[in-house]
Symmetry: C2
Subunit: 336 residues, 2 copies
């Protein structure tokens, strides 16, 4: 059945009903919700006094392609990238609003699959889908807003602007798999099945570091963000906002083993400039980073240091501390 | 200069700087803001304990056309339709997040004009633009999220589900001008200059009924919404959500004089089914409606009554209380 056959209201009703069925209403976000889907706006009464919000859109053939993405994966990722922005602040996601653009000929079952993917990740992280709109559009786009709250009563969060000279720069997990996955999918490359599956998952079903972001704040980290544009580009954002410089030890960067299996030495470029890994990048005093390493519950790798020299700039150095020039801008949709 | 020449980050920086310049920071929304544009998410500490949010997208050649809309008007309207959803709840808008899809060849000056239109209406209603993203897209779309709070400490708002049998149904202002304007613009019709200007303004620069919505709540009204899809369609939404019926006196409907000047008898159809007038439609006991009429500060017209018969249905009647069948579905983008 096509979207055009049941009309805008028919589709909205159907997706709203479907979303309600899929939702796990035991979560605290649902208990704080007073008005959900069906009215002109949603309303809730938050327990935490600090509110956060972020929005990101994914556009067909710019951010994803149906050549390799399923509707379910698109639903997951469109919510994941926004949850990652909340993780980047060390905060707690609570609510999602979805604005969905669909061509007239879209099969209603595909729109439902998209919502299934959104509900799956929303349930996993305690997020309630509380509203949105569905509009006709010549191409598919999914614009998701996530609202949340600070993870503590004092409103402490991670900021891009809080890095200080002398801080150690560190990252969670490993980098490069998402960009390697994109290259594999775009090129239709055949890789060993386990490698291929891992790279595909990294690109299409990223898992935001929600609890890790919250723990970073609890452990005293104040400077951080998520890696969506690439390590070098995102560290540059931190340097710009904090008015500091940074030295990045290329040899220390934790390159994804799957990316290396699939792409050999190219994997380092993916790790440095590929983006979309949705790991956390943060800066803190050496002692704090050591504590984070032992308590965060995932791999944490120091990759550099914050300096007072060259504010806004990232200097890449090798194992012998010699300057390199591998830098390339991060993922930039307008210039590519 | 094209968007592609300065890249995604160049454009985001430029628009962020531009938005900051245009913002009126004396507003209370700005004073409650702790983190604005430039970090992974925005953060604020609301004074009112009840939070609201809504999102709506406008898509090129579906909801607007550059054949007749300027970028400034598009910016205004994309925020206006969301503020109207907050007005529909009788609440207070506080923050806007903008997700903007632009083709590579977009002139940066046009994107700035769009933000100028958004800033103009945002400043007028005390709304702070606190974040968003700008992405490449084959067509222009603007997805705006507005967050707000209840207009009182007890969280009282207007709901679609609160209409009760015996209530009088009433509307603010007059209806039909926005749809008449769309017909005029789409058809390139020549109308007398003052009429044309008014119809154009109604379609492209709608003014949300923010203070009126808040006053309705203060005066004891609890059932209401904004008229975005058309009077008959939206009253049907109220009937469905409230599990009641309604009789709508067609002769009582306040048809826009400009719509009548331009389109004669067709203006009634615009008023009943045209949509996009962003007036408020509400239901309350007769006494409350009388008080609203004397205190709201804009035209308020009783147009019908809520009944216990035929839940979910709107019956159209003429001046002699005889049933009519003018009904047509509201604006539905998928089936048209």
């Amino acid at each position: 059945m096509k979207a055009s056959e049941i009309g805008e209201f028919g589709l909205i009703d159907r997706l709203a009903g479907f979303t309600k069925t899929l939702s796990d209403k035991r979560q605290s976000s649902w208990r704080q919700l007073l008005v959900g889907i069906g009215d002109d706006a949603a309303m809730w009464k938050p327990r935490n006094p600090f509110q956060l919000a972020t929005v990101d859109s994914l556009v067909e053939d710019v951010h994803f392609s149906f050549k390799y993405t399923s509707w379910l994966e698109l639903g997951w990722k469109s919510v994941a990238v926004n949850l990652s922005d909340i993780a980047a602040m060390g905060a707690t996601p609570m609510y999602a609003l979805v604005s969905l653009g669909l061509p007239r000929a879209t099969d209603v079952r595909n729109a439902e699959q998209l919502y299934e993917g959104m509900a799956e990740i929303a349930n996993r992280f305690g997020v309630a889908i509380i509203g949105g709109d569905t509009v006709r559009s010549p191409f598919v786009f999914v614009s998701v807003t996530v609202a949340g709250c600070a993870s503590n009563e004092s409103g402490e969060i991670l900021r891009r602007s809080a890095a200080q000279p002398g801080n150690v720069v560190a990252v969670t997990g490993s980098l490069g798999a998402a960009a390697a996955g994109l290259t594999m999918l775009n090129g239709g490359l055949r890789l060993p099945p386990r490698t291929a599956a891992e790279l595909r998952r990294a690109q299409l079903l990223p898992v935001p570091r929600i609890s890790e972001g919250q723990k970073l704040v609890a452990l005293g980290v104040r400077a951080g963000m998520d890696i969506s544009d690439g390590l070098v580009g995102d560290l540059t954002h931190i340097c710009e906002m904090s008015k500091v410089g940074a030295r990045l030890s290329v040899d220390a960067v934790p390159v994804s083993p799957a990316a290396t299996e699939g792409f050999g030495e190219q994997a380092l470029q993916f790790a440095l400039n590929g983006g979309e890994d949705y790991e956390l990048l943060f800066a803190a005093p050496a002692k704090t980073v050591q504590r984070v390493q032992s308590e965060l519950g995932c791999r944490v790798t120091p990759v550099g240091e914050v300096t007072a020299a060259h504010p806004g700039k990232v200097e890449l150095v090798d194992g012998a501390d010699k300057a390199l020039d591998l830098s390339k801008p991060g993922w930039d949709h307008f210039t590519r």
